[in-house]
């Protein structure tokens, strides 16, 4: 799971820099941005605080890179493959499946850390928020198509979009702490729950 420009070849051993970012992301997911110190990150990769600064330029820049990397992965794993699905209902179902899987398996970097956006400079905040809105647009578009074909319940598309996103990040959060459950069951139930909220009851 390589970070920043230093994307090592897929099968090669991870760069030291990549290891640093990986460890940082893990710690920040667990304890938040403010709650994670540079010393901790350094210790996690067996290095001095000073040594770390050979790989990073600042703590804030680190967060920006981690967030952008998370969005890259989101696009790679979820957005891109899902765009190919024509039927909006199936597209939505797959989006949720893939995104929850991504959240649960590849660490929760995806979303949990997005609550820490405010630690970035304003312009950097805009950059990330823009990418998130693109992702929201994907969901909104599926809902719009469903509405066009008459399959959607009468509802506010904006609010529904937020509920869908919220449900997915929620699932990832429980999974991370105490709430243990079979992953496949959890995903299936969540998709069913959400689709029931969205679609007209079958005739």
């Amino acid at each position: 799971m390589p970070y920043s420009g230093l994307r090592s070849a897929p099968d090669a051993a991870p760069t030291r820099t990549a290891e640093v970012y990986r460890a940082a992301a893990e710690l920040m997911v667990e304890k938040g941005f403010g709650g994670t110190s540079i010393s901790e990150i350094a210790q996690a990769v067996g290095m001095t605080k000073a040594g770390l600064y050979h790989h990073i330029s600042s703590k804030q820049d680190m967060l920006l890179r981690i967030l952008n990397h998370a969005m890259d992965e989101l696009e790679l794993i979820v957005t891109t493959p899902v765009r190919l699905i024509e039927d909006p209902e199936e597209r939505l179902r797959q989006l949720m499946r893939l995104q929850i899987q991504g959240l649960v398996r590849h660490g929760l970097v995806f979303v949990v850390l997005f609550s820490e956006i405010n630690h970035l400079a304003p312009e950097q905040q805009q950059e990330i928020r823009g990418r998130i809105k693109e992702h929201h647009a994907l969901i909104r578009e599926a809902l719009r198509e469903l509405a066009e074909s008459g399959r959607l319940r009468s509802l506010d598309v904006n609010i529904a979009t937020m509920h869908i996103m919220n449900a997915m990040t929620g699932v990832a959060r429980w999974k991370a702490q105490d709430f243990a459950s079979d992953e496949e069951h959890l995903i299936h139930e969540t998709v069913a729950y959400t689709m029931a909220a969205l679609l007209k009851p079958e005739a």
Copy 2:
């Protein structure tokens, strides 16, 4: 909105101590526990850091009191009145309405801060988590009754409970940041969305 044992009479001017806790809660909601410094809180109420310590015993204890106070209010505003409603469907609807209103209006102390539980000592964490579980039980019980009377879709009650809680805290979070919308509309849509996810379609 009085805090700790120093609950001033409902119509009286708020105690200085209450003001301190109020400001602290507000700041912590905005910037997190770790992101809020004692000096900031002191400044917010026009006091020195040292002066603050006349009113509080420690930062951690402050968090515990804020969390417990939030649960007190939750019980006062939501739990207690809702328990009186016999029909489980209406009980659930009212629970959601009241809780979202409480979240949005009385500050988001209720839930936003519960992600900061880990800053407490383990035994204090248990104390708060216990109170939250009691609240979950209220929702679970409504779902159980709905299932008994055959009104509930076939679903996992535990997972559904989490989704309901998650939706409510989610709504409060959006409301707090950029996502602006008419409060009544937001509540109505959320309740409708959730009930559609839960109940069998009407015959």
